[in-house]
Chain length 344, copies 2
C-alpha cells in the first residue's frame, strides 16, 4: 500500500524542540516504514542522526537548507528574503514530486505563505485554510479556518465548507460528512451578515449541510465539518485548549485536597491520564492545509517526537488519497451557489 | 448591612423549571435573610407558596403579572404586545424603587429588551451588554458581551471595557482590574479592524489595560475583564461549556473502562464532582446586565433552586454597591479615547 509514494518532507528546524525532537519523530516514523526527508542544515541533520542508534538503514534522506525562519519573523517577508529556508525547501520537494507531503512545526504563517508561494492554489480556490482536526467524542470533527484568514467574505466560508467536506470524506473516510457553520445560535436568523450569506449558499450545495451549530457542538462529533472565519476559529480552538487545561488543574487540586487515600488518588490520576491521551493533540499530529496544490501539515509549536511521528503518518495517509486533485471540482459551485442564494 | 435595601424582584415564570424551582430558590434565599418579590400570576404564586412548609413568616411578597414571555417569543415584539408580562413587571418594580434588582431565567433577549425599554440607559451608554461571570482558576473573570450585540463597532467594545472594569472593581471588589480584548493572538498586529481600533482607544484609558488576550486565557483569572463582540463571546462561552461537558464524558468513560476497582472509581468520581462544583455556573448565579439604569441578572434557562438562590444573593450584592450610578462617568471618556487613537 505504501509503495510508490515519495517520502514526507520534514522541516527539521521548526518548533520549540527542533531539531532534536523533530529528528527523533522522523526516525520513529521511519522505523515504522514511513520514508522521510529531513530538511535543514545538512551538518546539523547528520549530527542529530549520528547521535542516535542504528539510523543508517532507515528510509531517511537529508535535504540541505541553509536558512531558518523563526517565530519572530514576518511570514511573507521571511519567505521572500530567506530564499533557502527549510519550510520553502520542503515545499519545493513537494512541488517537484520528490516528497508526497510536508510537515512543519515552525512559524505557521510562514508555512501558509510558503504553501501559497511555492505550490499555489487549485483553480477557483480563493483562500486556503488551516484545518484543525478535533478530538471528538466520536470521530474527528474538522474546524476550519483556524487562523489563516481573519477577515472573511461569504465566498471564503462557502469554499471552506466544500473543501472541508471533501477532506472529511476522502481523507478521514466519512461516507457523507455533515457540515455546519459555527454561530451564536441554531436559528437561521442568528449569526452575522457573513454567516447568513454563507449559510444561504451552502443550503443549495450537494452536501449534507445542517445550517448553524454552536460552540458546544465542536467536540461532540455530531458535525463532521465546522466552518468559521479564522478569527472565531482561533478563539474557539484556544478556548477549548484553555478549558481543558483549567479543568485538568481543577481536577488535580480536587484529587490532592479530597482524596487522602493514595490508592484512590492514583486511580483517579489514571483516569485523568486516559482522558488526556484521548484528547491529546499530539495523537492527531497536525493541522492540514487545505486549498493549495499539495499536502502540508502544520504541527503544534510544542510538538515532541510523538506529535511529529503522528503528523508524518497522517500526512502520508492524506497524500495517498490524492484529495488535492479534487479541490478545484469541490469549490467550483461556490460562486453560483452564492449568486443563487442572493436572488432568493 | 442588608437593611434599607428593597427586595429582589424574581421573575417566577422564566426558565425551564418555572415556576416550581424559581419559587423554591426564592424561598431558600428568603430563609437566609434576602427579601424577595415573586412576580407572576398571583394565583400560581400563592399556590406554590402554600404547597411549601412555613413560608408565611418569610420576607416574600407577591406581585401580580398576568402574562408570560416564553422562549419562542420575539423579544422586542413580546415586550410591546404582552404589556403585563412578568419580566416587564420586574423591571417596573426596579424603576419605581420597589425592588433593588431583578432576576429572570426567561428569554434573555426579552430581559435585555425589557431592561432597555423600562430602565433605559445611563447617559452616554451606547449598548448595554450581558456579562458572563466565569469560574476562573483564581477569581471571577468577566467576559462581555456574551450575546446581546452581534455586530459591534469599536465604541461598543471600548465601553464594554470601561463598564466591565467598573463592575469588577465595585461589585467583585478587585482593586485594580486588568482588562483585555479577546483576539486571535497577543501581538498588536493581530485581530480585526474592530479589535485594533478598540485596543488603540483602551490603551489611553485610565484603567489597567493589557492589550489582547487569547481563548486560552479566559478561565485562568489572569485577566479580570475580557472584552469581545457578542458573536465571539457567545461562541467562546458555549465552547467552554461544551468542552467541559465532553471532558466530563471522557473522564466517565475512562473511569468505567480502566478502573475495575469500584473504590478507585468512586474516589475518581468524587474528584470529578468536586471539580464540577467548582466550575458550576449555578454557584455563580447569573449574568448581570451592564449599561442600563438598574440591576438585572439573567439566569440560565436550566436554572434550579440553587442557581436562583445564588442569583438573588449576587443581584442583591451588586445593588448594594450602587455601581449603576457610576456607569455614565465610566463610559464618558470613550469617544475622546477613540478620536485620540485615530489621530495617532
Amino acid at each position: 500500500m505504501t509503495r510508490h509514494l515519495a517520502p514526507v518532507a520534514v522541516d527539521a528546524m521548526g518548533g520549540d524542540h527542533a531539531p532534536g525532537a523533530i529528528v527523533q519523530g522522523a526516525i520513529d516514523a521511519a522505523r515504522k516504514g514511513h520514508p522521510v526527508t529531513l530538511v535543514g542544515p545538512e551538518g546539523v541533520m547528520r549530527e542529530e542522526l549520528a547521535r542516535r542508534h542504528a539510523t543508517r538503514s532507515l528510509p531517511i534522506e537529508v535535504q540541505h537548507a541553509t536558512e531558518v525562519i523563526d517565530f519572530h519573523d514576518h511570514p511573507g517577508q521571511a519567505m521572500r528574503r530567506k530564499k533557502d529556508n527549510s519550510i520553502r525547501v520542503c515545499f519545493d520537494l513537494v512541488a517537484e514530486g520528490k516528497a508526497c507531503a510536508m510537515i512543519s512545526a515552525g512559524n505557521s504563517g510562514a508555512v501558509m505563505a510558503g504553501a501559497i508561494f511555492v505550490l499555489g492554489r487549485p483553480k477557483g480556490v480563493e483562500r486556503p485554510a488551516i484545518v484543525s482536526v478535533l478530538p471528538g467524542l466520536k470521530g474527528l470533527p474538522l474546524l476550519l479556518d483556524m487562523g489563516a484568514n481573519v477577515d472573511c467574505k461569504p465566498i471564503h466560508l462557502v469554499q471552506f465548507g466544500l473543501m472541508g467536506e471533501l477532506y472529511s470524506r476522502r481523507v478521514l473516510g466519512v461516507a457523507r460528512p455533515s457540515v455546519a457553520i459555527l454561530s451564536n445560535g441554531e436559528e437561521e436568523a442568528k449569526g452575522t451578515d457573513l454567516t447568513r450569506a454563507a449559510a444561504g449558499a451552502l443550503r443549495g450545495a450537494a452536501i449534507d449541510f445542517r445550517g448553524y451549530c454552536e460552540g458546544r457542538d465542536l467536540l461532540t462529533g455530531d458535525f463532521d465539518v465546522i466552518v468559521t472565519d479564522g478569527f472565531t476559529g482561533n478563539v474557539a480552538l484556544k478556548t477549548m485548549e484553555g478549558t481543558a487545561k483549567v479543568i485538568g488543574e481543577h481536577l488535580k487540586r480536587a484529587i490532592r485536597s479530597s482524596l487522602v487515600s493514595s490508592v484512590g488518588g492514583l486511580l483517579a490520576k489514571k483516569a485523568l491520564e486516559a482522558m488526556k491521551k484521548r484528547m491529546d493533540w499530539r495523537e492527531i499530529g497536525g493541522a492540514p492545509l487545505l486549498g493549495v496544490n499539495g499536502v502540508g501539515f502544520i504541527s503544534h509549536g510544542r510538538s515532541d517526537a510523538l506529535a511529529i511521528e503522528n503528523a508524518i503518518r497522517r500526512a502520508r495517509e492524506a497524500a495517498r488519497t490524492h484529495f488535492v486533485d479534487e479541490l478545484a471540482t469541490a469549490v467550483a459551485p461556490a460562486e453560483a451557489l452564492l449568486a443563487l442564494a442572493q436572488e432568493n
